[in-house]
């Protein structure tokens, strides 16, 4: 549970189309001060009279805390269905109801380590803020971004500058190496002597990364994306089976016990079934 969560009517400060995405900035006041890479926000969509009753979750791309209670949160939004399309249609000056920051954040190592950041699609968003922090701690940061095509790689210039190396993969080969991020991972881990992987992207990708991380024996923190009804821990819809310190698998809420979790602890191959032995099954 993120103790800093609050609800606010926030103003859209800017909304720019970047490739397949919209880069959007919201004036959120104090909320920015508490936002960490990995955290997300939950936004009401559709406006008055909408049939969309649930909030939509978006990973925080960056948060900037200014003086006098002024602060901004930036998101990278893919216009996908009706909710996100509504959001990306907002213009500067429009108000949106936003709850945040929510969920867990990426764990920052106390020592300078060699980190590999892996993002799929808009999953790259939280990695740039993370990269800055890691660099500040003296870490080496390599990055791999993958997507179906070049338009879906989100990698702004200043973001690229913040990493030691950037590898891009696309399914259709329209940018970087043709293929998936998991195809290039093993080599990158070895070549750069990676200690820890931070990832964010579709569940299938996170599962694939976990497999490689386990094989190569590197730590792996991933930001998962389960369908969420509330984002604040009250609905129990966003659960997934995670093995605890005590070895017991429990159905944990990805909105408050995540989105950032230890990849190794997730029981990935549990689609549409409760894994055997799960607590309470």
């Amino acid at each position: 549970m993120n103790k800093h969560a609050s609800q606010a009517l926030t103003e859209v400060v800017s909304n720019k189309k970047v490739g397949a995405y919209h880069h959007m900035v919201f004036s959120v006041g104090q909320m920015a001060a508490h936002s960490k890479p990995g955290n997300f926000v939950a936004i009401s969509v559709g406006g008055p009279g909408t049939s969309m009753i649930l909030r939509r979750a978006f990973a925080i791309y960056r948060a900037s805390d200014r003086e006098n209670g002024v602060g901004y949160i930036e998101l990278v939004v893919a216009p996908h269905g009706q909710g996100s399309t509504w959001l990306t249609s907002r213009q500067s000056g429009d108000l949106v109801d936003l709850v945040g920051p929510l969920g867990t954040a990426f764990g920052i190592p106390t020592e300078p380590v060699r980190a590999l950041l892996v993002g799929g699609g808009y999953g790259s968003a939280p990695l740039f803020g993370l990269s800055e922090i890691l660099k500040g701690r003296g870490c080496r940061v390599d990055m791999v971004l993958g997507a179906s095509s070049a338009m879906k790689i989100y990698a702004p210039l200043e973001g690229k500058r913040s990493v030691n190396s950037l590898t891009i993969t696309t399914d259709d080969g329209s940018a970087g190496i043709p293929g998936k991020v998991s195809d290039v991972l093993a080599e990158l881990i070895e070549n750069n002597q990676i200690d820890i992987i931070y990832s964010c992207g579709p569940m299938g990708m996170l599962e694939a990364i976990t497999k490689i991380a386990v094989e190569k024996d590197v730590l792996h923190q991933c930001a998962i994306e389960e369908a969420m009804a509330c984002g604040v821990g009250i609905c129990m819809t966003c659960v997934l089976p995670i093995r605890g310190e005590d070895g017991v698998v429990r159905m944990l809420r990805s909105c408050i016990d995540g989105p950032v979790v230890d990849g190794e602890k997730v029981i990935w191959d549990s689609k549409r079934e409760i894994p055997e032995g799960t607590w309470g099954s």
Binding site: S44, L54, C230, C235, T237, K271, R272, E273, I274, G280
Partner: protein, 311 residues
């Protein structure tokens, strides 16, 4: 003149009529960062069962037009851990609490009631009988007058003392008045109306039911007309039995609809997901509306839509 916003369900008294709905506020902690839980008429806990429950597999949720489907499957820690951890926390905070229980057999209901006997500081017991009865081919207790009655009787026999029993009914029945009459005869002090409506969404990408559990419970504004109808029908048949109304309420005007139909209090469920402070909004809007309409107390408005056409 001061407005009287208090209400009661059976012998239980509440400062105001706005509750959370079972399963839509978890154990309370999560909402407490958005508002002071003591401002609630009551927090109704998620339905607790005897043993720990993993709940159903995911996907457990599908958004629908002005509603959502869920099939949580009553995930929870079981009554013992619940009484050890969750209840003390709520009591420390001074939260007006209604505990919801759910069983898989008539005996379960009896056992849960007995466990609740010694618990102090709880205002009432909500008995969720919209659960599959493992002893009767998974038939939902609330969908059959005989099993609905048996579950409530088991609670009544075992609860002892004066903890009021609120029987929570399912709208998925041919005749909800019949079920209401049975559970009242069996000893329910009040009724909670309505639980979710059975529904299904098919994911047109995978071309299978979207939820892992196939069917799920429909909640939210989509079902409000069903809730209003059920409350109106039951209040007409049993005017002296108080009703905790729920189903799709998101604002004060909608809560008023349920009150006028016959509810003495209103639980807010799905609306919390879209707006964590929904209860506080409903609470203040409803009070303003009642005052604006000239009521001196909430009680005056309960069931007001039933008055004769001439009035």
């Amino acid at each position: 003149m001061s407005f009287d916003y208090t209400t009661s369900l059976g012998a239980a008294k509440f400062e105001n009529p706005i509750f959370t709905a079972s399963g839509c506020a978890s154990s309370g902690k999560e909402l407490s960062q958005f508002f002071d839980l003591r401002e609630l008429g009551a927090l109704v806990t998620k339905s607790i069962m005897i043993k720990p429950r993993s709940g159903r597999a995911t996907p457990r949720m599908a958004e629908t037009a002005s509603g959502m489907l869920n099939s949580i499957g009553l995930q929870g820690p079981g009554i013992d851990i619940f009484l050890e951890k969750d209840i003390p926390w709520l009591q420390e905070q001074g939260v007006s609490t209604v505990v919801s229980i759910a069983g898989e057999s008539v005996d379960d209901y009896g056992i849960l009631a007995r466990k609740m006997r010694s618990v102090t500081g709880v205002k009432a017991l909500e008995v969720n009988i919209s659960c599959p009865n493992v002893e009767n081919r998974g038939m939902v207790f609330a969908c059959n007058p005989v099993t609905a009655r048996a579950a409530i009787e088991a609670v009544r026999r075992n609860i002892g003392g004066e903890l009021p029993i609120i029987a929570k009914l399912s709208p998925d029945v041919t005749n909800i008045v019949e079920i209401a009459e049975e559970v009242v005869a069996a000893g329910a002090d009040a009724l909670a109306l309505i639980n979710t409506v059975l529904g299904m969404v098919i994911d047109t990408n995978t071309m299978r039911p979207k939820l892992a559990g196939k069917t799920g419970g429909l909640s939210g504004p989509a079902i409000r007309p069903v809730a209003v109808r059920a409350i109106y029908q039951v209040h007409a048949a049993l005017p002296h039995v108080s009703i905790l109304g729920m189903g799709g309420v998101t604002n004060g005007r909608e809560a008023l609809e349920l009150i006028l139909a016959g509810a003495s209090a209103v639980s807010i469920g799905t609306a919390n997901f879209g707006n964590p402070t929904a209860t506080m909004l409903v609470k203040s809007e409803l009070q303003e509306l009642l005052i604006a309409k000239g009521f001196n107390s909430l009680q005056e408005a309960v069931g007001y839509a039933h008055r004769a056409e001439s009035q």
